[in-house]
């Protein structure tokens, strides 16, 4: 690769401009002849570098002996986004957009392990999904020693509810909705016969988690879960924004800035006391 292409490439990729200038400048003085490359050649280089940008930046930076720019500005607040179906034991057909267990769980473990990460923002916009995977994510969030704030945007339905309440503090956007409904008989169970007792047990598991980690009472939750007249094809309740706060499921109505402000506040107070949450 020519020095010109490397220079152009770094500019194209919008990396730290001081770094690219430094590299470009150094190479230009070291090899002035090469800098008079024809326009055609330059154009070719640009085309080539569009394709190989990720790889070549890594390579050129390595060759220059510079710190890789990727690690240079790591954020101290990490964000876990959960969208679509929460996917667990079963790989869902491709028409489903999914957030996968095997992606999210290692991320949470990595966040817990990395001392440079101070807090976690969980952004939820999900239609529900696998009970085991959803509860696994929720349990990990509860036991994470760093402050966690959740934000429900768009929708946080079904198994997203335990995940939303598992945070130290939860927010819901004014327009976001949460649907509480029973675990259906039509659900797919692997290796276990679908008995009424089994479904009831699964439901209890979810309700127990939600009532333990939010202000809502089990009785109230069950009432919302079996309410008629709210959903067209099912029993249950749809709550919009402030309604979820009123029933005690979510702590506050708010958006991104409110959630981040709360997270910073929690980080500060946890650093002050030096105590980790249970």
């Amino acid at each position: 690769m020519t020095p010109e292409s490397m220079h152009t490439q770094l500019l194209l990729s919008g990396k730290d401009s001081a770094l690219s200038e430094q590299i470009g400048g150094r190479r230009a003085t070291a090899d002035p002849g090469r800098s008079r490359a024809s326009n055609a050649e330059r154009k070719e280089n640009v085309e080539e570098n569009r394709d190989y940008s990720a790889q070549s930046t890594m390579e050129s930076v390595k060759q220059m002996g510079q710190t890789p720019p990727l690690g240079a500005h790591r954020s101290e607040i990490h964000c876990v986004t959960i969208i679509g179906q929460i996917e667990g034991h079963l790989v869902l057909p491709p028409q489903n957009k999914t957030s996968k267990y095997e992606h999210i769980i290692p991320q949470l473990v990595a966040i817990e392990q990395d001392p440079s990460i101070k807090g976690v923002l969980v952004v939820l916009n999900t239609v529900g999904g696998d009970v085991d995977a959803g509860l696994a994510i929720a349990e990990l969030l509860v036991t994470l020693s760093k402050p966690v704030v959740s934000l429900v945007l768009g929708g946080g339905h079904s198994i997203a509810i335990p995940i939303a309440v598992s945070a130290d503090y939860s927010f819901i956007a004014p327009t976001a909705t949460m649907t509480i409904h029973p675990i259906r008989l039509a659900g797919l169970v692997i290796g276990v016969p679908q008995t009424y007792e089994y479904l009831d047990k699964m439901q209890d598991r979810v309700i127990r988690f939600i009532t333990k980690h939010s202000r809502i009472e089990a009785e109230k939750f069950r009432e919302l879960m079996t309410r008629t007249g709210d959903l067209v094809r099912d029993v249950g309740t749809v709550m919009v924004g402030a309604e979820a706060v009123e029933v005690g499921l979510i702590d506050e109505v708010g958006g991104l800035s409110a959630a981040l402000a709360k997270l910073h506040e929690l980080i500060e107070s946890s650093e002050k006391t030096g105590k980790d949450k249970e």
Partner: protein
């Protein structure tokens, strides 16, 4: 077990036709089911879902990372080309 507001008949719409395929690909990744050949690769600490566009070449489809600054990195933006 699924607990979702999307009806199971929608979630599992292709389930019957999928069962005709190799069980291995079903277990491994849903990407294997897609004719567009999606792959997962790890670059500089970030995990990317890429779509193969040619010999040794791929295009970024989705970034999977918890670090918000990764999403500002042009190399990881959907549509960016990478060498496999």
């Amino acid at each position: 077990m699924l607990y979702s507001v999307i009806p199971p008949e929608v979630v599992f719409a292709d389930w019957q036709s999928l069962h005709g395929q190799e069980v291995e690909s079903l277990v491994m990744t849903s990407a294997a089911l897609d004719p567009k050949r999606y792959r997962e690769v790890v670059r500089g600490g970030a995990r990317l879902i890429v779509c193969e566009t040619g010999e040794g070449m791929a295009e970024v489809v989705r970034l999977i990372s918890t670090d918000p600054s990764d999403y500002l990195n042009p190399e990881y933006m959907p549509g960016a080309g990478i060498k496999l």
